[in-house]
């Protein structure tokens, strides 16, 4: 196949070797559009059993096979250095700072729709297509990001940091389809990945996340991370016992605290600098709002208050809220109902109906109770 002379419209499909991106490539190729498959070699999984993960080398082989089945050219671009800088290292940084990171958002923001788009443009492509379940609709102010038709599979949360310019150069051909339809397309086409399962875990971690963080931290600077057990305290600062090192905890976590108490205890807050983990009852997890940073709007910037439904983690159903920008990328979000488990490091994403307005990164609770522990 030769695309000579029609390079202007060339579409680069990001092919991970998974079901969704494979069907994306297949579908565009069937529609007769000029498509080139690009796989990103993001992480060296050699020596681990990482088949079925989005950045493994074995999956790149599947991507190549699907490209052959679809009759499109396919190339693998090595981006492991950038992936480490933009995704893996900040992931480790977050844990060490007592936050619970959301690496898939960072990967979309910095790798798939930034670096890949740039690389695709060098190859003469003008747009990047991915297998994300989300929709791009044309609005009065430019392209808008919307939830997928298949709400159970919707991935718009992970895309909140895209810009209008990036959306204009992106295609999400699966946004109008259900997962069942996507798998049916793969089966009918006889794609080698038709029966492949989901990759749910963090793609670059093949064992436990905590062990990964520990190994990475130790590799950076031996002794930099205290393997000392954290002191578990209640909201008044009263010592309740000792546990594991602080970076092994997540806000909202109940299991594995190893404390005897009349009612179940939850992690309320993580204090790396004091190697303390604050725990409390479920009611203490409830917060009236959140403080955000690195506020991002898709399309026009907003400085005034905005009413929206806010999702505070990927599987959160969403809560009506008032968004109050504070300048400098800081924002306060007031919930209509108190919400459980405000987790620093996670994204808060703002919706109006199906439309994603933007979002921010959670810094803490708006009532400041997570700053006032003595």
């Amino acid at each position: 196949m030769t695309f000579q002379g029609i390079n202007e419209r060339l579409i680069a499909v990001a092919m991970s070797g998974g079901l969704d991106s494979s069907v994306t490539a297949w579908k565009l190729a069937r529609e007769g559009r000029p498509v080139v498959g690009l796989s990103m070699l993001l992480w060296d999984h050699s020596g681990t059993e990482a088949h079925g993960r989005c950045c493994g080398a074995l999956d790149l082989g599947d991507a190549r096979r699907v490209a052959q089945q679809a009759g499109i050219p396919h190339y693998t671009l090595r981006m492991d250095r950038e992936f480490r800088d933009k995704v893996v290292d900040p992931f480790v940084d977050d844990y060490l700072a007592g936050r619970t990171p959301s690496p898939c958002v960072r990967c979309n923001t910095w790798i798939k729709f930034d670096l890949l788009l740039e690389r695709a443009r060098r190859l003469g492509a003008t747009r990047v297509a991915t297998g994300h379940y989300a929709r791009i609709l044309q609005g009065p102010d430019g392209p808008e990001l919307h939830t997928a038709v298949d709400t159970g599979k919707d991935q718009s949360y992970y895309l909140f940091e895209l810009t209008g310019e990036q959306l204009a150069a992106s295609l999400f051909p699966l946004g109008e389809l259900t997962k069942a339809q996507v798998r049916e397309i793969a089966r009918e086409a006889g794609l080698v990945v038709a029966e492949k399962g989901e990759s749910m875990e963090v793609c670059f971690v093949s064992g436990g996340v905590r062990e990964f963080v520990e190994a990475e931290a130790a590799a950076r600077l031996p002794g930099a991370v205290s393997p000392e057990p954290a002191v578990l305290v209640d909201a008044r600062g009263e010592e309740l016992g000792t546990g594991q090192p602080y970076y092994r905890y997540t806000v909202g976590q109940r299991r594995g605290l190893g404390l005897a108490a009349p009612s179940p205890l939850y992690v309320l807050q993580i204090e790396p600098e004091r190697n303390r983990v604050v725990v409390g009852e479920e009611s203490e997890l409830m917060a009236p709002g959140l403080r955000g940073e690195r506020l991002h709007w898709i399309g026009p910037q907003r400085t005034g208050e905005v009413e929206a439904t806010v999702k505070i983690r990927s599987r959160h159903p969403g809560v009506p809220a008032l968004i109050r920008p504070q300048g400098d990328g800081r924002v306060e979000v007031d919930f209509a109902e108190p919400q459980r488990g405000i987790t620093p490091g996670q994204a808060a994403v703002f919706y109006q109906g199906t439309r994603v307005l933007g979002g921010c990164w959670i810094a803490g609770r708006s009532d400041g109770s997570d700053r006032s522990v003595r």
Binding site: T2, F3, Q4, N7, L10, V36, L41, P73, Y75, T76, L77, R78, R119, R121, R122, L123, G124
Partner: protein, 385 residues
């Protein structure tokens, strides 16, 4: 699609295909070791191919051992030399050898031998006196390729072999890239081992040959059969060996025409290129080279080098198949060790393309390629500006 990557592999010669067809479900089959007439026919086919390969190299047929690949043959020689030396002593290799020599040497080094790697000069040629200066009383082998796979530069194997012969040091010559493109007279070259691979000169994949000078002992690296006079057990790959023989015969007959045709294509390309694409640099142009290989670096905007990988993909999408370096090192963007050894900078190495012409290419294809190259380089320069 226009194929300009003949140092990676070549299309099958019609005569090789013709010779192979009977052995690919075309009525002939047989194990050359069998007593019956099926076996006799297969034996005859293999021995005929051995004569054809020997004729191409100007050696005796009994000195030719068939292997499955050039890699296997290079490995076999180095491991056998190391074994005979009790994994003691010293090897000299050039720093631009194929990985099948380089990594085999690294393995025997890990097992106790010492290895000296002699770098080429900026002209892409390893100099004889530098090889000789590296020799020691306990040097067991010198490995020097005849033609480099990336730059195409020819190495002074005859001079090195003559000097090593005086000292009783055997020489391994990896001639995989040279055979079929230029005349190779193994006997005159003076090496003790010489390696060729069928698919580099229009033979099939899966057949190669190791020539071992008469009187040089080599024990079988594969055991379990008396094939190849016990020097390489395995039932012979008859169709591939027959194809290798036919490709060798074709190369011998067409040699003068091939060399002239390839050089004409390359010279046409290199004559037009600098005027067409400012900032294109042809590497090792003044050195003795294969007639078919042109290795070019491209400067990008403001003198920075442009990314060869992107250019390669653009050219592929436009219908032209070239390479950024040795095919064996694809999938990574580490610069080729050969280019670094020649003193080419990391950035320049990463901005390079290898164009390797074949006997089936035409001057019209060269012109079409030049046009595409100019267009894609200009567009890539715009895209990164």
């Amino acid at each position: 699609m226009i194929y300009l990557d003949h140092n990676a592999t070549t299309p099958l010669h019609p005569r090789a295909r013709e010779a192979m067809l009977p052995w690919l479900g075309g009525g002939s089959h047989g194990n050359p070791s069998s007593v019956h007439r099926f076996g006799q026919a297969a034996r005859e086919a293999v021995e005929g191919a051995r004569e054809q390969v020997a004729a191409l190299l100007n050696v005796r047929p009994l000195e030719v051992i068939f292997t499955a690949s050039g890699t296997e043959a290079n490995n076999a020689v180095i491991f056998d030399v190391a074994r005979k030396a009790g994994r003691r002593g010293h090897l000299v290799i050039s720093a631009i050898e194929h990985p099948s020599v380089r990594e085999a040497a690294a393995r025997v080094a890990a097992e106790g031998m010492e290895v000296t790697r002699v770098s080429p000069r900026g002209d892409g040629v390893v100099h004889v006196d530098e090889i000789l200066a590296a020799l020691r009383p306990d040097t067991r082998l010198v490995a020097l390729m005849l033609a480099n796979n990336e730059l195409g530069t020819l190495q002074p194997v005859a001079e090195v072999a003559a000097a090593c012969g005086e000292r009783g040091i055997p020489v391994l010559c990896d001639a995989v890239q040279a055979v079929g493109k230029i005349p190779v007279d193994a006997a005159a070259l003076g090496a003790d081992y010489l390696v060729l691979g069928a698919h580099k000169f229009h033979g099939p994949l899966g057949a190669a040959a190791l020539w071992v000078r008469k009187g040089v002992e080599i024990s079988g690296h594969l055991v379990g059969g008396s094939q190849e006079r016990r020097r390489r057990a395995s039932t012979e790959n008859v169709p591939a060996i027959v194809g290798l023989g036919a490709a060798a015969a074709a190369a011998r007959e067409e040699m003068a025409h091939r060399t002239a045709h390839l050089a004409a294509l390359r010279d046409r390309f290199e004559a037009v290129l600098p005027g067409l694409i400012p900032g294109a640099i042809v590497h090792c142009r003044q050195s003795p080279r294969l007639p078919n290989t042109s290795h070019v670096a491209f400067t990008g905007v403001e003198g920075a080098f442009m990314e060869g990988e992107s250019l390669l993909i653009r050219l592929d999408l436009a219908g032209f198949a070239v390479s950024t370096g040795a095919a064996c090192s694809s999938g990574s963007v580490e610069p080729s060790k050969t280019l670094l050894a020649v003193g080419i900078s990391r950035q320049e190495a990463l901005s390079s393309l290898r164009v390797s012409f074949g006997i089936g290419n035409t001057s019209e294809e060269v012109d079409a390629f030049l046009g595409a190259l100019a267009r894609e380089v200009a567009e890539l320069r715009r895209a990164v500006a």
